[in-house]
Amino acid sequence: MTTEVLELKRHKMSVGKWARVLGWRHIVAFLTIAFALFPLVWMTSASFDQLGLVSAQKLIPTNAGLDNYRKIFSNPDAPYFTWYRNSLLISVLNAFLQMCIGAVAAYALSRFRFKGRKTTLMTILVVQMFPQLLAVTALFLMLADLGKSLPFMALGSPIALIVIFAGGALGVNAWILKGFFDTVPMEIDESAKVDGASHVQIFFRIILPLVVPSPAVIVLLSFIGTMNEFVLSSVILGASGDPNDLTLAVGMQRFIDGQYNQQWGPFAAGALLASFPVMILFLYLQKYVVTGLTAGSTKG
């Protein structure tokens, strides 16, 4: 530490010192990045490799072309665009619902002092330890029963899936949002109240605009999380047996399962196209993500 600080004070470093202080860091960076990009690079390479076999793949394909993309777009057993649409619809709706239900609850928990506030906070904290996927068997049986009466809550229905996800809205997201709302001083509410603003107006016109990038980040994080969800989507949407009901995550898994040698190329093409939007969105939001993370969430 001491030597480093001293060296920083000089403007130029000798090559030896550069290697000792900074050079090795660049080497570590290159190795780490190579590891981090490894699957992405091979996914890209495989998607353009027209042989489409795991066994014959080279890093730079000898006969590059778009065959694999054509294959994944036109496979009647793997309706790629339908999956894409399902994933987007479910994720957008879920992100929106998570935000609405979570934000209003977080507002109440942050602003009002009422009976049961502590209990609600504790419940939210405890429930976070029990992800819904642990109760997947119970949810499956519940829908099997409920679907007999209410067709939109039957197994195979995307609405049922979204409603179940909404049950988890009072979780991590509400917790993080409460943290954001807490940063807005109470005096602002009080002066607005004196001026005759109602609690609804305070929420929509004052508090929400003041924390504005953060709710947007929560929306995008739950969007990404839902795009990634596998267990519940697989059990609930897969129950109907119709490939058109699936999401990308579940559909691609069923598409490639046990068929690595035959479907590697088309799979890579589909996976790459599905990964890109999510990755770009994520990298674009990096700095907000870090704040969200340190507020106590984990991925998933």
Partner: protein
């Protein structure tokens, strides 16, 4: 007056939403009651009343914001958790789905077989013009026509029936004949017809032009609660596991019904060698796996964070963006890609290091593969939170260490690590709990395999509790054992609860968070 107009669009929206909810409840509750799913009917009814009360009251301001979320939380997170606990004490599984009454109905209707001396009867499929019902027109004795539907049968008066010269049915008043081609599309409705025709005899479709007389092989005595095979005379009595069993115990009637079986599922996990050995193995691996993932990713992330936390390091931002790519990639697709790269015969990894290692089918290598993929997937997260924690370290402490002449290694072990660990402990605990049930990490890469042979092929060497549960519930070859799966889930719940409570208590984070 002015204020009223200003508020009116919101009031209209509120009336519209509340009205919609109440209309939904009024529509749904009778259906739920009809299907005897009481708990859902009651829950929807009570929820609607609570929402009506809260939103029509002027006082319940906080509740307006919080009640919708809480009601959903109770319905889809807390109830399923409790229901898991309930199912764990039942024999809910393939063959034990129905309640007892329904199971008896199914047993009786499955037991129909051709009457001993029966001949196929001439039959015509038709549609009742009045009700639209699909009907079977059967001639038990030539010239005597009976109309059989799902609901029953009735004899048709001779005057309403016309035959052509060769004696085949030509026209029956009030019925419209259905062609054989159309009949194929109605097979499901047609084969549901089982109508009484004489003493303890029934008629059902044989093919599209004929019917047969059938008799039930089983008869049920509701007073004694026994099933008797009328042909062989064997008596079947209900046992405590929801099945009718013959007196010598060798024969069991399918399907059985759903019933509470006490601690039986838990006993099986603990005592039955088919479940105990794999369960111990799976449980041990779950603990080790989650621990190793947290430790390896944390140290990798922390070291990277320290490495790149140097003010003179150019390109820091680009490095950081590239390093967190695994965290940004959709994990399901990334893990499936890894599975392809670990492919044994000619996967990229084997070809790069020039080996033929059976990555996904050797127990040890499969575990290594799982850990490598998680190191890839989990390090960026740890890198991000460690960077945050290091940057938040109080600079005075670091300076003091420098002044005292502490070496780089010494400051790391004695000052930085303890401080970083202190601030990150809650996140590390959460990460442990998350990895403890990280289904995708296992299931998508190895499918839990390679199989543990003693488990009958259900459990695998890389299975963790949650993936084992999933396989028990949904993919086990012999049928799905929801009861056993819930028992294992229930154990999973308890382990996580105990571990997290203990860890949080020890790190005293709960108090500081609320």
């Amino acid at each position: 007056m002015k204020k009223y107009f200003e508020a009116s669009p919101w009031i209209l929206l509120k009336i519209f939403l509340l009205g919609g909810l109440n209309a939904f409840a009024l529509w749904a509750i009778p259906i739920l009651v009809m299907n005897k799913t009481w708990i859902f009917a009651v829950y929807i009814g009570v929820s609607t009343l609570i929402i009506d009360y809260v939103f029509l009251s002027k006082k319940r301001i906080a509740a307006k914001y919080i009640v919708p979320g809480v009601l959903l939380l109770v319905a889809f997170q807390i109830y399923p958790a409790l229901f898991t606990g309930y199912v764990a004490f039942t024999n809910y599984s393939t063959g034990h789905i129905l309640n007892k009454d329904l199971a008896i109905d199914v047993l009786l209707s499955n037991s129909y077989q051709s009457a001993p001396d029966a001949q196929p009867l001439a039959a015509q499929i038709a549609r009742d013009k009045a009700t639209g019902e699909v009907t079977l027109l059967v001639q038990r004795v030539p010239g005597e026509v009976t109309a059989a539907t799902k609901k029953g049968s009735r004899l048709i008066p001779q005057s309403e029936v016309k035959f052509d010269e060769n004696g085949s049915l030509n026209r029956v008043e009030g019925f419209e004949f259905i062609s054989e081609d159309e009949g194929y599309t109605l097979l499901e409705d047609l084969s549901a017809i089982l109508a009484p025709l004489g003493q303890n005899q029934f008629v059902r479709l044989l093919d599209l032009t004929s019917a047969e007389i059938v008799v039930p092989a089983l008869s049920y005595d509701s007073k004694k609660d026994v099933m008797t095979n009328t042909g062989t005379g064997i008596v079947y009595r209900p046992n405590e596991f929801g099945s009718f069993v013959s007196e010598d115990g060798t024969e069991e009637l399918e399907p059985g019904w759903q019933t509470r079986v006490g601690w039986y599922n838990f006993e099986r996990v603990i005592e039955d060698p088919r479940y105990r050995a794999p369960m111990v193995q799976v449980l041990t691996w779950t603990f080790i796996y989650a621990f190793l993932v947290v430790i390896t990713t944390f140290f990798a992330g922390l070291l990277l964070a320290l490495t790149f936390n140097h003010p003179k390091l150019k390109a820091r931002k680009i490095y950081r963006s590239l390093i967190i790519i695994p965290y940004a990639m959709p994990s399901v697709l990334a893990i499936l890609t890894w599975a392809g790269m670990f492919n044994e015969e000619n996967g990229i990894i084997n070809r790069m290091i020039g080996t033929q290692l059976p990555w996904l089918s050797d127990p040890t290598l499969a575990k290594a593969a799982v850990l490598i993929v998680q190191l890839w997937a989990g390090t960026p997260y740890m890198f991000l939170i460690s960077t945050g924690a290091i940057q938040a370290l109080p600079s005075e402490v670091m300076e003091a260490a420098q002044v005292d002449g502490a070496s780089t290694t010494r400051t790391f072990w004695s000052i930085k690590l303890p401080l970083v660990l202190y601030s990150l402990t809650p996140l590390l605990i959460a990460s442990y709990a998350y990895n403890f049930s990280n289904f995708g990490a296992i299931y998508l890469l190895t499918g839990g395999g390679p199989q543990i042979i003693e488990s009958g092929g259900i459990a695998g060497h890389t299975d963790i509790l949650i993936s084992y549960t999933y396989k028990l519930a949904f993919t086990a070859g012999k049928g799905n054992d929801y009861g056993l799966a819930s028992a294992v889930s229930f154990l999973n719940f308890i382990i996580i609860a105990v571990l997290s409570t203990y860890a949080f208590r020890k790190s005293k984070t709960v108090e500081s968070m609320t």
